[in-house]
């Protein structure tokens, strides 16, 4: 049976395909997939899902390997092998607030898609905060007065800037990572190792 790889849809998917092609793999069936969520190439089966769902498919052994952002891994702590960083998907986690806004002295309210990362960040600082969990467009929260600040990933910083926010502190550097199911890596070692080594070395397969 072909190894199954779960791929995070969207920006990471595009970056992975470019990288995958640079290693000499055929990506045509993946580029032409249309709206299909499961695509077979000659050597692999790919499934496409949201980042957190990629970790679920890998944890349950439906997919052998997964390509997912480290932010998702840090937030959800899935029970998988977290094998290696990939040379794309670079971003950083940052605490941001309204430019010129007052950083209140009382207990602060922080909006984030990443409540666990936020909690850990403030715990290490020794500060108690109230966390408001949002699903997206987190930058809105300080502007509309829902929160005093946000904790979110930043790639270029453009979205923050355009919404009048500034970075107060950066605290994690992330990349995309390759993860593996804990059993698959051992039982299917022979067929997974060449791919993992290619992803790690960044060298074309021979």
């Amino acid at each position: 049976m072909k190894p199954c790889i779960a791929l995070t849809k969207g920006r990471l998917e595009k970056q992975f395909l470019e990288y995958f092609q640079s290693l000499g793999f055929d990506i045509q069936p993946l580029v032409k997939k249309g709206r299909k969520l499961r695509v077979d190439t000659e050597d692999f089966q790919f499934v496409f899902a949201k980042g957190v769902d990629v970790t679920t498919y890998v944890e349950h052994g439906i997919a052998d390997l997964g390509i997912v952002g480290e932010d998702v891994l840090t937030e959800f702590q899935p029970d998988v092998f977290n094998l290696l960083p990939l040379p794309f998907g670079q971003c950083r986690m940052a605490l941001a607030a309204e430019a010129g806004g007052k950083w209140p002295e009382r207990k602060r309210k922080i909006a984030s898609k990443y409540p666990n990362i936020t909690k850990e960040f403030f715990r290490l600082k020794g500060e108690s905060v109230d966390i408001v969990k949002l699903e997206g467009s987190v930058e809105l929260a300080p502007i509309l007065g829902l929160a005093d600040g946000i904790v979110d990933i930043v790639e270029t910083g453009t979205t923050l800037k355009e919404n009048g926010l500034i970075i107060k502190e950066e605290f994690h550097q992330y990349t995309a990572r390759c993860i593996a199911n804990r059993s698959s890596l051992k039982i299917k070692k022979d067929c997974l190792t060449p791919l993992i080594e290619a992803l790690q070395k960044g060298e074309a397969v021979t």
Partner: protein
């Protein structure tokens, strides 16, 4: 009415398979001279969360009792059995158990286990008996497609001992090894200042696979007496398994303990087709230190839910329907004796749609005060 997430009703074959697995387990362990032990479902949380057992309270199903102490539903058998065995005569060396464990971090909260614990027994003998009992049990269940993995806690301990890491750093490194996160292992081990040790630990992440890995590392570590001793021990166990007909044995020399009480050989069984872990266990002498006992202890637990799913649906016994009446019911009951070893159902009427459920249908009628049997 609804069920909480993770809870489920079960019927028919699913239950039959589980009973079958428990029954076979009981027979196999009895034949191998294991004594059954059972511990209560409700215990104090402290039994499992103390520094020796080291389990996380968050994952337990718990509540406060009237005295304000935290009680839990049994989250782990090994720890509970260790507590119970301290009060048992040391002459009994081999123990077996079966029943549920309850954890909120597992699918379904309740999972069924069957396991063995061997105490006061020489190291190789105890570990061999554990593994061969597993092989025996799987064979009796007609499960042949599995892989046994061997590992040892001593390798990581030996390689990290010279690094003088703080407990927090060591725990981070252990977690990175557990996740096979090579970049983090390299980063953390490099902080110790020893490039050689960092490289050694990083390479150890990939030291898993067939028995060739053992051969490679036996040569590689030839100048380290402790590591050679560990490698030769694993090699002997692998040889024993091979001699007893186990085809596929893996080693993972980079495996680290995921509970603090493991201290030596660790084993795990995977089903080949779906990769599910069907058993896991290892040596845990340290667990008994909480009772001021120096005891050799080793054990393993089977995941009975995983095994039950794997069992083929057994051939149904022949099903017979005795169609009787209130008057002929006593005679029909008497007739059961004629059909020993088969499933016999008594009904007063049988709809056409139900006939396909039975292999044989027998009318039991009373004619002229005499009971009659008419095969249909």
């Amino acid at each position: 009415m609804f069920l909480p997430a993770g809870s489920q009703d079960e019927t028919g074959q699913q239950i039959n398979n589980r009973f079958h697995a428990y029954e076979i387990f009981g027979t196999v362990t009895k034949r191998r001279n294991f004594e059954a032990i059972s511990t209560p479902v409700v215990e104090y949380a402290e039994t499992f969360t103390n520094q020796y057992a080291g389990m996380a309270l968050q994952s337990m199903l718990k509540w406060f009792n009237r005295e304000g102490e935290i009680e839990v539903l049994r989250p782990d058998w090994t720890t509970a059995v260790a507590r119970a065995l301290v009060n048992q005569p040391p002459s009994q060396l081999k123990w077996c158990y079966q029943g549920s464990v309850y954890r909120s971090d597992k699918d379904g909260m309740e999972s069924r286990q069957a396991g063995i614990e061997i105490v006061h027994t020489p190291v190789f003998l105890g570990e061999s008996e554990c593994l061969l009992t597993a092989v025996n049990f799987l064979r009796e269940l007609s499960i042949s497609e599995y892989v046994i993995e061997l590992g040892h806690t001593g390798i990581f301990e030996e390689l990290t001992a010279p690094l003088h890491l703080s407990p927090a750093q060591l725990e981070k490194l252990r977690q990175a090894m557990h996740d096979k996160r090579k970049d983090e292992v390299l980063h953390l081990a490099s902080e110790s200042g020893s490039e050689r040790a960092a490289e050694e630990l990083t390479n150890l992440v990939d030291a898993f696979g067939s028995l060739e890995v053992i051969e490679v590392y036996e040569k590689h570590w030839k100048s380290n007496h402790r590591l050679v001793e560990i490698i030769q021990h694993l090699k002997k166990l692998a040889q024993l398994l091979s001699d007893c007909g186990v085809d596929e044995i893996l080693v993972d020399l980079g495996r680290v303990k995921n509970l603090p009480y493991y201290c030596g050989t660790m084993f795990r069984g995977y089903l080949k087709d779906n990769g599910a872990t069907c058993f896991s266990g290892g040596r845990y002498d340290k667990l008994y230190e909480q009772f001021d006992e120096q005891i050799s202890a080793v054990g393993l637990a089977f995941d009975v839910d995983v095994l039950s799913d794997k069992l083929p649906f057994g051939k149904e016994q022949e099903k017979i329907c005795l169609v009787a009446s209130e008057e002929s019911h006593a005679y029909a009951e008497e007739l059961r004796k004629k059909y020993t070893g088969r499933i016999v159902d008594i009904r007063y009427a049988l709809h056409d749609s139900d006939r396909a459920d039975y292999d044989q249908i027998v009318d039991v009628t009373k004619l002229n005060k005499e009971d009659k049997v008419v095969d249909k």
